[in-house]
Symmetry: C2
Subunit: 601 residues, 2 copies
Amino acid sequence: MSYLTIASTGETYEFVVKTSLLNIIQEKGIGMESPCGGRGTCGKCKIKILKGEINQLTQEEASHLTKEEIKQGIRLACHVKPQGDLTAELLEDKNIKHEILTEGYMPSISINPMIHKEVYKLIKQNFKNDLSYEEIIEDVVQQKIENNNIDLLKLLPEAFKQGEFTGVYLGGHIIGIEPGNTVKETYGIAMDIGTTTVVASLVDLIMGEEIASVSEINPQTEYGLDVLSRIAFVQSNPKGLELLHKGIINCINGLTLKLCNENSIAASSIYEITIAANTTMMHLLLGVNTDSIGKAPYTPVFKKAQNISAGSLCINISPFGRVYCVPSVSSFIGGDITAGIIVSKLQKADENILFIDIGTNGEIVISKAGKLSSCSCAAGPALEGMNISCGMRAAEGAIEGIKIHENKISLKVIGDKTPVGICGSGILESISEIARVGLIEKTGRIKKKESVMESNPGLEHLIIEENGKRKIHIAMGAKEIYITQKDIRQVQLAKGAISSGFYALLNLMEIDMVDLQEVIIAGQFGKHLNVDSLIGIGIIPEALRDKITYVGNSSKSGAVMCLLSQQVREDIETIAKDVNYFELSTMDGYEKLFTKCLSFS
Amino acid sequence: MSYLTIASTGETYEFVVKTSLLNIIQEKGIGMESPCGGRGTCGKCKIKILKGEINQLTQEEASHLTKEEIKQGIRLACHVKPQGDLTAELLEDKNIKHEILTEGYMPSISINPMIHKEVYKLIKQNFKNDLSYEEIIEDVVQQKIENNNIDLLKLLPEAFKQGEFTGVYLGGHIIGIEPGNTVKETYGIAMDIGTTTVVASLVDLIMGEEIASVSEINPQTEYGLDVLSRIAFVQSNPKGLELLHKGIINCINGLTLKLCNENSIAASSIYEITIAANTTMMHLLLGVNTDSIGKAPYTPVFKKAQNISAGSLCINISPFGRVYCVPSVSSFIGGDITAGIIVSKLQKADENILFIDIGTNGEIVISKAGKLSSCSCAAGPALEGMNISCGMRAAEGAIEGIKIHENKISLKVIGDKTPVGICGSGILESISEIARVGLIEKTGRIKKKESVMESNPGLEHLIIEENGKRKIHIAMGAKEIYITQKDIRQVQLAKGAISSGFYALLNLMEIDMVDLQEVIIAGQFGKHLNVDSLIGIGIIPEALRDKITYVGNSSKSGAVMCLLSQQVREDIETIAKDVNYFELSTMDGYEKLFTKCLSFS
């Protein structure tokens, strides 16, 4: 056995010499981001080695590290193979505050939650000869108590002592008994589990309203930033599934506790958690293997709605607590999208409406007068500021907007701080502006300094040429912030994926763009992306400029609706079955369309 | 915090100064019998104090200890209040082998277990477009998979990888999926959880036969020998319910593991455990409070059959494993008796049959041509050798039979060892013989030496008079073995309780004793009690001598039948509802009858 010591905390961890340092760090739950899932391509898992025998620096590492970093002993954890005891220091600052979108539009619905309560008094007449407490209760509530409910049996003696009890119902079925009158304390939580962020809203089921909302970065991001990296992590690591499963369960328990503490509510007063998430997140939530999602024919293990006891998932709410998983359509159109559909009432539309959820994955749904079709495109994390040289999440110090005017760049920085990086909306706007003023060609290639001097005199100072490679200067903060050719390619791929999906789906549904009445934009980007960037970069065509509506985090809003309305649940389960799904990658001519969509018009 | 050290093992246990030493020992699970439940009346919790400050010897203790014992520092743990750190030595020998009755008569039934399996192959045609694994399986097995079954979802990927899977059914409903063909490995366990002993039989559900049987003393005996002591323990100890619940769960897991290991079977191949037990044991098994059983109007929390997932009880069998609890009639006629009824086919009788289960409690059922009535009588543990001066359980060295012939006593000792005590059957036979030869009066009073000299010359040497108290010499082993006046009173109470119940029930059902066609004797005593003792002591009237049948452990046999036949389960659930129960203690004239039944013939 060898030992890893983290210098700053002094904590030590036992490990077996045979695996990478990244594996060790992730298995011990020490915490380190690995957007590429340990494939050595993202260069994000930097760590400073202070002591201990390890392998020599690899070429792949050298390409991700500066000379200064190499001198300091900084390495990529995924390429480090310890030979014995090791002392290292983590570099990442985990205390930056992230901005996560918790708000979202929600249509008005009639309140009729699955969970409801009734209060009963026990009177002398109830005590018939020879009946057990269980049978007396069945007599009083006029319903059989389902077998297999030990928690209910356990509470009966106290209910009889108090002479009054509250029945807890799911739909029409009694699932719990509480001594005394507990009607006032009836809460639920609606959750959106995104690949990157988790949002939880506390909902008063009696008043039918959201009370508070909290959020956190999905702890699974440590093991890969997009769903495919996480699927790869599960495949390559024997404990991967368990790690990802426990990570999200802990996160749910943490958010629940936070909501309870901040609002002075007992966790036992929460009876249901409704969860909207993409199909991979939903599998990981239940601890179900994701291999089949990751390879053709992309079959999910389950996609129907699941109604599970919270206890069986080790989620700490009422002993009668339930978890409702919003149903999916396919491996790549998940419950987050069916939630978005119900929020946007796409199934009831009598016009043609296009719905795009822009996240790590881009999902597109078209409603042709209520008939729903969908496709999914791997946008990648670039639009969220990941896999970008100076990229970062939407947090303090992130450039979220830029304008180039009269040869100068003006910035909008979150928290009005000195800029330290660029977040998703900033990247989108940067590239939109760079393209607008002509610093890049239609192919996305950065122009040469001389060529800019000719075409856009005064802007050539933004082109930096180093070792035969070009990049574009954006700002000078603590260090220089720039956009590389690789960054532009990443965004180009995202834009190409989404807009080709968009055109392909219109084609498949035989809808002319002019016949679209509305374009609904959902997801993390609703708050930060402006129409100009979306159009400027070519994700949304200019022709649709006036038809754009933002619905914000419709995944969470849909989960709230599921919490509050039995009818919504019925509807969403029907929708999940009725939506057509097109797998773009296997479609004739899609390659060509995609290539065309890469271009900056 | 103070520490208790057990000298022989060197183990130390933290405790808070405020409670009795017995409480500490029981809470830490160190193990010590306390037949009276810590009330200080049985004198069984002897312990040697080696070091540490404690309270002075109490009068109650002095009455249970010899001078020699007091000199050695022996005390009763229930009366010892430690003031700080303490070193003590346990006295009890826990390694004696107990004889427990595992065999029992079982009528022949047609085999149709609740658990069965079907094997399916996955072929190309099953893989329809857009279906999830879950939906494909539903298509193949032509049945919806119940929600809330995450364990099933988790196994689907492996089933698809293998291309063949086994469906596990409970009744007609699919509850589990296993990759490959697992039909050959389909087992269940039938258990009888008695107040004193727990018996478990491994059953092959395919062949429909018992394979092996193991047993253990119920670990709850440490906290009180009869159900009322355990109910009192739960009431007086905040952790009492949890301790008793965990004790029996651990015991079930232990017996299961033993059956699996000894028969080379994986615990995951066990799909159901059927359990017959008295109502108190059943409540403790599920961790349900027993207070209401212990006081008028003696209402149980539940009495219907329970069908529970094994996982929710922390019982380690198949992830799809179930636990079936045989239904009870009332607080004092439990699943062990409904099991006995089904084994004896009482509900189908066209004659008058009397059924007695003699254990720590005595339960009596009369079938008047199929119409069933029952009563229960607190026999107490005397008939099992407990609460008797020289009493012990049926184990090696126990006197299990005696005969007095020509002024001499001949003994039958279990294992042909030097006698160390008397077990239940031995006590019954001793007192039967003592009464027969006239050493006691009809009232049960031991005659004076002089009076015996007159009436039974030659036997007077058996009468020992000490400090004005009389006892009867039985044998001289390592120490003298005798029967005291108090012992005779204990047995008298047991005999009075059972025979008064017997006569009361005959009266209530308006049946003349001569019209009884059969007397069925069930329970632990079936194997050890002979007809002569039962009649000699007056539990069964002489007139019924030729009508007695022994069915042995019918509680366990009934549990086996429930495991093997869906029909039996239906029948037993009907029986549990149909049996009349009479509470003797509230019956007019019962006191008088009881007093009359105390007398020896």
